[in-house]
Symmetry: C2
Subunit: 170 residues, 2 copies
């Protein structure tokens, strides 16, 4: 019998958890993603992978702008759920949430995040279920230099968080 693939091998890949926001005119949204990485140092470019079903992705494609905010390890579960488990298509995620508008027009949320990187989209890569957005960093600021980044591992093992089916369609 052929040895089956053991997909537990993929559980040892390290991910963070990030709020990614965007806008189109008066409409704004943000979701939670686990894949963000710096592409080059100079010029400073960053990439994020966003599920194709998400409303935020539609806004990113329209405006060509997004912001990435690494989340704080101390983020309450309910805050993660608000942005991570619900869809901006049918729910106003920003109701009663404090935010400012970044230089690139995207909503920035300081609460429970460590920093914000504002980005202009330069390239989109079509992947089977996701779009990889690559862009130039146009602004970057630190909100909380003492906090620790929330990792997916911490979320899963300490916060006992699980991703509901369809939760990445945000």
């Amino acid at each position: 019998m052929a040895n089956p693939l053991d997909y537990n091998a993929l559980n040892t890949i390290t991910y963070g958890l990030y709020l990614v926001s965007s806008y189109d005119g008066e409409t704004k949204n943000a979701l939670v993603v686990n894949t963000a990485f710096q592409v080059t140092a100079a010029p400073a470019k960053i990439a994020v992978s966003v599920n194709k079903n998400s409303f935020t992705r539609q806004l990113m494609l329209k405006s060509g702008k997004f912001a990435v905010m690494p989340m704080d390890e101390k983020t309450p579960f309910i805050f993660i759920g608000r942005f991570g488990f619900r869809s901006g298509k049918t729910f106003n995620k920003f109701e009663n949430i404090e935010f400012t508008v970044g230089k690139n027009g995207c909503p920035l949320i300081k609460e429970h995040t460590l920093s914000a990187v504002e980005v202009s989209v330069e390239q989109t890569i079509d992947l089977p279920t996701h779009t990889l957005f690559i862009g130039q960093i146009t602004d970057a600021q630190v909100f909380n230099s003492a906090g620790k980044p929330l990792t997916y591992d911490y979320y899963y093992t300490v916060l006992k968080g699980k991703t509901p089916a369809g939760a990445t369609h945000l």
Copy 2:
């Protein structure tokens, strides 16, 4: 005065540390990368970002095969340096290192790694200093289910590791 970009904002992005190996005929090499992520669950695809100056990248382009091995948090610094700070162009990284040959032909190193994912390259994305390799997972196995993945944060803050200039050209 315009507010300068605070690139410390990028220090809160979470990365792991991975051995990535490849081969071309009798020639094999492996390097350390910090960017690997699952692209889709079904079919199972993975991506890694590899510096354009690296010897391993040349082998990946020739054979179209690579293996990704998330490193164990307990990996000794000298082992990371062997694969991460030296170039396979002038140094045989596999001398006195135990390895097996994976189904896809790539060398697999169990020592100090948690798992191995074997990949056939399907797509390469040209980034300014790196190439993003995206491929189909053809085999996956767990070596150490009790170990914790080594993160870049742990490497930097606990092991006090720094990346020497040019160290990603591996």
